[in-house]
Symmetry: none
Subunit: 246 residues, 2 copies
DNA sequence: GGAAACGTTCAGCCATGGCTGAGCTACGTT
DNA sequence: AACGTAGCTCAGCCATGGCTGAACGTTTCC
């Protein structure tokens, strides 16, 4: 399914080329597991996967991951129970939960206080952002910037705000996610398929036309002045480029 | 705190500050223990947990916490007895009690001896406020501000009072807690779920609709004039922003 | 014991955002 | 230069989210 679209090679978003951290991904649906692990590996993480709670605990013991991505709904045991076991073996093992967007789930109440959680269906950008945020917190990598800058464009993740030459710009949630994806991948060509896979939820059925639309919206709000930052590579994709070094 | 400034946005106070103090959390219910320790860690405390009186005394001896959060009702020994033991080993060990809200008077008598207490079910904001207040008293951290200010909005925690451009405003307890939470997290987007989890009691079953209502009340009482301070980020949450950087 | 304040829910309205399809423009290939 | 294709933009529809006022129940304080 979706993963086929992003067979590209140079997808590494990593600030670092080497391993950022060791992750354990736990989900019983093979599709989700593959989707996540493939794209996390692309982003520079070392990934081990488990399909149920028993496996999760087992692998966690052996590989001592830096963080666990954990589906709440598992065939054998509750995600919280797994988290409990993990915490037993290591006081501070950070967990990012995956959960259905049910709303009425009262279990979810406790979740939000956990290290973090993402609702299904998610976009890869969302998951990556959470993981990085949690790692930043738990390791005290506080100097990793929460603010991105390209040319006179600035984006603050925490404040969820964007400035162009100092003046605040209002972006819709999707516009924001798209710009964020561009900025994290400054200087890298992104195909429409890649963008679709990362910015839109994995169950989105539509075609690449949306991407064109949203790039258009973004340009209008954020890239009207010279030098232009977002460039079209006909037949290939888009790039956000630092001015100057073009 | 100074070092945080370097990351640009963080308005101090917040989630990402370095270790504020070492806490020992004692409660026999795992849920409460996890709830508290997760959110205290998020707020920058170093946390160790214990499930009963024996463990509590044991850990207190070893780690010498700066403050103990102590459930009054423990399986093996009375919370007051534990507090007694703690005081034996360190004259001035501050204790914040957790107690059921059933108001039997003899318990309250004992509570007067505590530095402070919070009744269950509590909201995280309440607990955090107590802990910070006690730490401020006992170790003279007088530089921790008791008065918060954003634009022409001022809030005094000790006096439990709020002013908008100098004129006092009457807020209900919930309104006050909500505004306090906003002000402590100035510049940070807060989802309705987060707000619900921090401002409302942990056993509150309702949905995020209440948050909308209370934001509405708050705006009416406190944010009628330009420039507006409380902003809605559709589909994301709310932010309280310093004016100017609008 | 009564009145006021407070907290919660709900329903209706309004605004915003997401997506699509169609027409148009720009590109670049031959 | 001309054709075909890719990309851009816009308008419009639909769904969702958010705001507010009113109603109801509960607590608090005289």
């Amino acid at each position: 399914m979706a993963e086929l679209r992003s067979s590209g090679v140079s997808e590494s978003q990593g600030v670092l080329d080497r391993v950022e951290a060791r992750l354990l991904v736990v989900d019983d649906e093979p599709n989700i597991r593959e989707l996540l692990s493939a794209s996390l590996r692309m982003s520079g993480f070392e990934v081990v996967t488990a399909a149920d709670g028993r496996e999760a605990v087992h692998f966690a013991e052996r590989i001592r991951p830096d963080l666990v991505v954990l589906d709440v709904m598992l065939p054998d045991m509750d995600g919280f129970a797994v988290a409990g076991r993990l915490r037993e073996m290591s006081e501070q093992m950070p967990v990012v939960f995956l959960t259905a967007r049910d709303g009425t789930d009262d279990k979810v109440a406790g979740l939000r206080l956990a290290d973090d959680y993402v609702t299904k269906p998610f976009s890869l950008e969302e998951v990556l952002a959470r993981i990085r945020a949690v790692l930043r917190r738990t390791r005290g990598d506080l100097d990793l910037p929460t603010r991105l800058q390209v040319g006179d464009l600035e984006l603050d993740e925490e404040a969820h705000q964007v400035w162009r030459s100092g003046v605040a710009v209002r972006l819709s949630p999707t516009e924001f996610k798209l710009l964020h994806y561009f900025m994290v991948n400054t200087g890298r060509v992104l195909s429409k398929a890649q963008i679709l896979d990362h910015v839109w939820n994995y169950d989105f059925g539509g075609d690449a036309g949306v991407v064109e639309s949203y790039v258009s919206y973004l340009r209008r709000k954020v890239d009207t002045a010279e030098p232009r930052l977002i460039h079209t590579l006909r037949g290939v994709g888009y790039v956000l480029r630092q001015p100057h070094s073009d």
